[in-house]
């Protein structure tokens, strides 16, 4: 297990919040001192715009901003940092692809394939696209344990399929999809298919290698991986990004502008119109440094052990129903459950909050998945590197309290 005593010291929030049990990292991770310091240093020492200034602090801001791009490229094993585009978050990254690549490659005769596990971010943009142009949206279902029915993949993919939009890790059930195998199979059936991976719940928790996965686009959000809010990443294969037209037009994304035409900037700046979230990106760089120093394999191992422990304790408690795959290998540290007593998830979350335990209740931006599970809402407790067995014990005690109060 990780040394959580030292890790907790790196996160100022644990000093500012007393007896604080934070189990909502799938929605938002906490921030270490080094990330906060990096953001503060930018604002206090060199808060200039990037690319435009000749003076020293603008050069410095540009340098650190671009160094972060290299860090991201190394972190996800991109071929080149030109493939790394800074945006606000996963949602914006998926929309960028839907509006540019999607609007030019998907027509009435096309099919898009996605899964029932998707976060609304990787579902609504595609649903809206097909409503607009009459294409077909096909959905890979899950089995009773919450895993994708892989036998369906072969049948669902046809010559008409243009895109597979799929999550790496489910933010609700915690399912880790065997992406490498899925992508291989999909591309074997139809080598022209473009695969977009929603990595929002993967990059913070497991080692990611976009080249090894064999995908074409990959998106993730900095705020779920210890970084500031408002800084996320779109990765795409260079040839694809080269061929795509820009999403937003304006400053920073141009080379030359004439009265009647514009020459756009090269990658990656072609897709970064306007002043970016410089402080956020610099903070994301610090977050990657922090995660790298702890080690993604160590983090994964820590979360596996914690989930195991939680699983055992919650089963013993016998008052909750757990959802998602059983095996640690096939799942992340997201604990999704309901109460056997049918206490509403909102009330569970509220009573836990009275004990300073932060969990989430609702549908977690996965309404189609909840409909599939025949549940209107659930409770989610999600783990990260700063969580401890003690947190789990407190959660279990809290759940006992829920059944006492109601």
């Amino acid at each position: 297990m990780l040394n959580t005593t030292t890790i907790k010291k790196d996160f100022p929030i644990f000093r500012n919040q007393q007896d604080f049990v934070y189990l909502d990292s799938a929605a938002m991770s906490l921030k270490p001192r080094s990330v906060i310091d990096a953001v503060e240093a930018y604002y206090e020492q060199y808060s200039a715009n990037v690319f435009r200034g000749i003076y020293k602090i603008s050069e410095k801001a540009t340098k650190i901003y671009e160094q972060t791009r290299e860090k991201v490229a190394v972190f996800i094993n991109a071929k080149s940092e030109k493939e790394v585009i800074f945006l606000r978050n996963s949602t914006e990254a998926i929309n960028l692809v839907a509006y540019t690549w999607g609007r030019t490659h998907i027509d009435k005769k096309s099919e898009i394939v996605t899964t029932i596990l998707e976060h609304h971010s990787n579902f609504v943009p595609w649903q809206q696209l097909i409503i607009e142009n009459g294409a077909v949206l096909k959905i890979i279902n899950i089995d009773e344990s919450g895993k994708l029915i892989l036998d369906q993949v072969g049948q669902i993919i046809t010559k008409k399929t243009k895109l597979l939009a799929i999550t790496y890790v489910s933010n609700a059930l915690g399912t880790i999809n065997p992406l490498r195998e899925i992508i291989k199979e999909v591309k074997r059936k139809n080598s022209d298919i473009i695969v977009l991976v929603d990595g929002a719940q993967a990059v913070p928790h497991i080692k990611v290698d976009v080249q090894d996965l064999g995908c074409d686009f990959f998106v993730f959000s900095g705020q779920k991986m210890l970084g500031p809010t408002g800084a996320g990443v779109l990765w795409g294969r260079e040839e694809l990004l080269e061929e795509m037209s820009p999403f937003l037009f304006g400053g920073e994304m141009i080379k030359e502008v004439y009265l009647d035409r514009t020459v756009f900037a090269d990658l990656p700046h072609k897709f970064e119109a306007g002043t970016p979230h410089i402080a956020g990106v610099i903070g994301l760089g610090a977050a990657i440094d922090y995660l790298t120093q702890i080690g993604m394999d160590q983090i994964r191992l820590h979360e596996k052990k914690l989930y195991s422990y939680a699983q055992e304790k919650l089963r013993k408690l016998d008052t909750v129903v757990l959802y998602g795959p059983n095996s640690q290998e096939e799942r992340s540290g997201v604990i999704l459950f309901t109460m056997k007593s049918a206490v509403h998830p909102h009330d569970v979350a509220q009573i836990l909050d009275e004990l300073n335990i932060c969990v989430r209740s609702g549908h977690h931006c996965t309404m189609p998945l909840h409909e599939r599970l025949d549940l209107s809402s659930t409770i989610r407790a999600s783990l990260y590197l700063y969580n401890t067995m003690d947190d789990i014990d407190k959660l279990v005690k809290g759940l006992q309290r829920v059944d006492e109060v109601l």
Binding site: H344, P345, H346, Q350, I351, E354, S376, L406
Partner: protein, 119 residues
């Protein structure tokens, strides 16, 4: 202070005006898709007065207790009086403080009532 005060729990466990009205003047259903709360409300209006009101709901303690308290309060009142009800009135009925996220559950029954009162 816990929001699970006696009055709230009492109204949750023994909701007043739970059920359906046989021949309602009007009926409506509202839901809060964020948490899956759902409330169906039936109303009987005579002249300007609410003579009967019932609700049928599924949801958290707050939405159910709020529906119970609100229907109890509404009975016998005039349409004008009820149309004027706001968030503050609901908070006064519940006698607890709710954050911006949770207040939505408490306001769901009022949303249903206001929908019924629109001509």
């Amino acid at each position: 202070m816990s929001i699970y005060q006696e009055i709230i729990l009492d109204h949750f466990q023994q909701p007043r005006n739970a059920g359906n009205i046989k021949n309602p003047t009007k009926t409506t259903t509202v839901n809060n898709s964020l948490c899956g709360d759902k409330i169906k409300m039936d109303i009987c209006i005579k002249g300007d007065k609410i003579i009967d009101i019932k609700f049928f709901g599924k949801g958290c303690v707050i939405s159910q207790a709020s529906a119970s308290l609100l229907t109890e309060h509404a009975k016998g009142k005039t349409k004008q009086e009820l149309k004027k009800m706001t968030k503050t009135d609901i908070i006064n009925l519940l006698k607890i403080d709710l954050g911006p996220n949770r207040i939505k559950c408490a306001l769901l029954p009022l949303e249903a009532l206001h929908k019924l009162l629109i001509e």
